[in-house]
Structure formats: C-alpha cells, structure tokens
Symmetry: C2
Subunit: 238 residues, 2 copies
C-alpha cells in the first residue's frame, strides 16, 4: 500500500479583526482546507483569529483549536509548541492540508512562527507556506484616518517596553514609532511622551477594526487609560 | 432641484502584487464602485496597482488613471496632486463613489495620502475612508519563508538612505531592519552590512509576490546587484 502523500501547512494572516480584511487567497484556503487550526480561546470564549475566520468556514470542516499559553517560561512554551506541532502533524501525515489562522499577519510577532519552526524541526519533510495579511499598525492608521508613514519617515515598531532609554532612543531615531501591546506600560510611556511634548501627536487604538474598537486621538489629558491587551500606540514625532 | 449627494473617496491598498492578496473588502469596493482610479503607468505600460486590480474589474466601470510624477520638485508634485484631486472631485460632485487603488497599503508610504490630503484641503466636505492592505515587507518575509519579527524584536523600516550613520544607527537600535527601495544605494548598504558581518543575515526581495519576483537570500557574494525600483532589503541583526 502506498502511504498517502503529506499534507501541507499554510500559515494565513486573517487580518486585524474585520472579517472582510482577510485576503482573497486566505479566504479561499480557509474555505477549501479540510482542517482549520487556530489558537484556542480563553475561559470558554473564542480567540480573536477564531472569531475573524468563523464567517468563512463551511460546516463540515474540522476545526482544530491549539493551546498556546501566555507565559514566559521557555520550557512551558516549548512543550506547548511541540504538542501543537504533533497535533497538526497527525493531520498532515494523513494527507490533509492544514491552514493555521493567526490574527494580523503570520510573519509579524505571530504564534505561527513557533508552530512552523517546531514542526519543521520534528518533520523536515513538511512543506510550509505563508499567506501574508493586514497587520494591526496599518489597520490602526486606517481607522485613525491618518497615514502611518509618508515620504522619508522612518518607522520603528516596538513590541515590548525596553525601559525609558529604549523608547527615548526610538523616538530620537525614527519619525514614527508604534508601541504594540502598550497596556501594561502605558503610564510610563505617557510620562515620556509628556516630557517630549509628543502627547498631542500620539494616539491609542484598541482592537482596530473589531466591533468594540476604541480610539484615543490625543493623549494630553489621558495620563491613565484602562487598556486591554490588544492596544497599540502610534507616535508621529514630526 | 436637489443637488446630488456627494460621492465618497475610498483609498484601498491592493497588496504587493498577487491579485489574490487583496482583501475581501477592497475587492468588494473595486467591484461595486462606479469609478476606479489608480496611478497611471509609464511609457504605455500599466502601473503596478492597475495590473493588480485588473482581474477584479467589471467591463462597464470607469477607469481613471491619475498622473503622479516621479520627481522631488515640490511645485511639480503639488500641481500634480491638485490636478488629480480635481479630477476625482468631478466624479464625487456628481454623486459617484471613487476608489483609489494603491499597491501595498494606502497608509504606508502611499501616493494616496497626498491625493486625500489635497482633496480634503480643497473640499473639506468630502468623506474619505481607507481600507488597509498587505504591505511589501510582510509579503517579502512570507516569500522568504521566514518571520519578519518575533517576540521582543524591534523593527525599523527605512524608506530612503540616510547616509552611513543613519543605517548604522538603525542596525544598532533594532533587531530587524527593512530598507525600502534599496536599488540606488545597494553598493553602499552592502559595504556597511559586510563591515558588520550581517551579509549572511540579509536578503533582497524584488517585486514580492509578482510574477517576476526575484529573491537573494544571502548577500555575501553579491556586492553588486542590478535591482529595479521595487526592491527591498531585510536584515535580521540577531
């Protein structure tokens, strides 16, 4: 008996929140793949990627929520990636293609990277392909109705807080700075922007293009904001 | 007689090149708007945005190529933006919606910004909305089969060459650096990357996802490359 040929793993970015901000290619793959994987939600709620893709699914598709913990412990993370990769492998080995859907873009601070790298280490024969998507800084700029960057402007994206010096250095070296996931450090960031007189040139966008999107366009009178995890801050330094 | 209500201007990013990398929303707007505008091509050839959108057009739509010169002279640029804005206005004033299609994303170094700003200065009553798209650095990373950024990595995007010091500073301050439109300064950039032993961590992608895409994955033995305008370079510093 000939073993079935291996399935392929697709990493598709499903965009920032509005289901229509998925690409035509990602939508086609979502519709045609037998198995659709995505990060599992928390506390019984569907995850963000799962909510974005749900309008595009067929009822007969196999849905595969994969568990990725929100921790820093490398041993816990590695174990979760290995478990997820093995779960995906079981389908690929049966000749089923798998799409893994990730919010935003699959190459931009995405869980997909760890899943794909773990899978390719365990099973180097697996073919992996990424379909790029719309990332949240571009969605946030569109919602604000302002360009993210023009002409000669340098853009720096900071995924986490590097301390006061790190942010100051970025504000010196680039004309536009985006802080991803700013919630936990917002008061410190506000102080720095206040000192540099950049508060009126700064905006926070929460869950860009999702139904519960919130925008704060001028941070001058907002030293404290109660922000959820998916909040980003854009500073136009000039 | 009641004058017709004003049409709306949509700025849609049509993605990096593969027509399927347009979003479902942009595709819907392209299909339904009476007037589809885009940057005019050069020397009788269609422009990049025009080629990307052409599979999605209906035969009865009004196509509106708008001329934007490739020059630095502010007076020439301003005159071209004013002319383009006036051309768009003629349709909006008749109650027709207009989509302006731009390659990549409409907030990311896009001609759309100047068109929209000029139009809103001349006719502040016009409503403008942007639909975000897939930008070329994310498409390039997907084609290379590598993440653009992970975890704590800072990303700096440099649209033009700032001299040796500017690039050195970016390479110091970020873990991932993207140089857009690197063609004209490639030999100088190569020298800097060689000195910092980053050539094997650097890649050039030409026309990502377009039919004539070219990739150079390791620049060690490539001090000279004959690159077209739409070439970008990604450096993974760590």
């Amino acid at each position: 008996m000939t073993p079935p040929s291996l399935g392929k793993l697709w990493g598709i970015g499903v965009g920032p929140g509005d289901p229509e901000l998925i690409t035509v290619k990602a939508q086609r793959l979502l519709h045609h793949c037998a198995v659709v994987a995505f990060p599992a939600g928390r506390s019984g709620h569907p995850g963000v990627a799962q909510r974005i893709l749900s309008p595009w699914l067929r009822p007969d598709q196999h849905q595969l929520p994969l568990w990725f913990p929100y921790v820093d412990d490398p041993a816990v993370l590695t174990a979760a990636w290995e478990q997820a990769a093995e779960t995906v492998w079981e389908h690929l080995a049966q000749g089923q293609d798998v799409v893994f859907a990730t919010e935003g873009d699959a190459s931009f601070y995405s869980t997909f990277t760890y899943l794909a790298q773990t899978l390719q280490r365990q099973h180097p024969e697996v073919s992996v392909e990424v379909v790029p998507g719309v990332c949240s800084p571009l969605a946030a700029a569109a919602m604000l109705g302002q360009p993210l960057t023009i002409q000669h402007q340098r853009l720096t994206v900071i995924p986490a807080f590097y301390g006061v010096e790190g942010l100051e250095a970025a504000l010196e070296a680039a004309e536009v700075v985006v802080l991803m996931k700013v919630a936990s450090v917002y008061p410190q960031v506000w102080e720095i922007l206040a000192r540099r007189q950049l508060l009126h040139r700064s905006a926070v966008v929460v869950r860009a293009t999702q139904p519960d999107q919130v925008m704060y366009r001028d941070l001058t009178d907002k030293p404290q904001l109660d922000l959820p995890y998916f909040s980003l801050l854009i500073v136009q330094c000039e």
